[in-house]
Amino acid sequence: SQTIHQWPATLVQPVGSPLSLECTVEGTSNPNLYWYRQAAGRGLQLLFYSVGIGQISSEVPQNLSASRPQDRQFILSSKKLLLSDSGFYLCAWDRGQNQPQHFGDGTRLSIL
């Protein structure tokens, strides 16, 4: 069966520090991968998605970047965090067109 792992679960970082959140998928190959951000009590905002190694599509211009160095690994990064980067970040995968997405457990990021 397929599983998705996302870490860390919680992160507290100072303003201006770098960020690296990691997501890996097991039990499938060539998945589509996604990063979302969820503000408190709000819906999900798609940040990045990837259909293959090295292929990254950005949905909104911002302080964040994503990379996919391996088929089942998706990384969300920032060189300098802003207060507005605080939120709940979710990684997800799916098999392709019109298939449901499956989500990781999320990372709660607090910027001080």
Partner: protein
């Protein structure tokens, strides 16, 4: 652009009651897919049910069923015999195959004992 609207920010019902969550969407496409996701306090996103637009029959999963009205672009979720564990945020989502899910803003559902 596709949009998904959930007009009920919060709902509250007693245990064992039936509750219906509303969702409307906007698209000019004819073939697409709709989903309901549940996000309990643990904040995991869990797929509840899926509907394919070209299928007229409403999807069901145990106590969960949908009322899909394609002409009205409506996709409501009915939870029968509600349980305390159904307490969660519920998100309606839409995709037409472009590797993107468009989510509504969510409905916070509370099941009271």
């Amino acid at each position: 652009a596709q949009t998904v609207t959930q007009s009920q920010p919060e709902m509250s019902v007693q245990e064992a009651e039936t509750v219906t969550l509303s969702c409307t969407y906007d698209t000019s496409e004819n073939n697409y897919y709709l989903f309901w996701y549940k996000q309990p306090p643990s904040r995991q996103m869990i797929l509840v049910i899926r509907q394919e637009a070209y299928k007229q029959q409403n999807a069901t999963e145990n106590r969960f069923s949908v009322n899909f009205q394609k002409a009205a672009k409506s996709f409501s979720l009915k939870i029968s015999d509600s349980q305390l564990g159904d307490t969660a945020m519920y998100f309606c989502a839409f995709t037409q195959g472009a590797q993107k899910l468009v989510f509504g803003q969510g409905t916070r559902l509370t099941i009271n004992p």
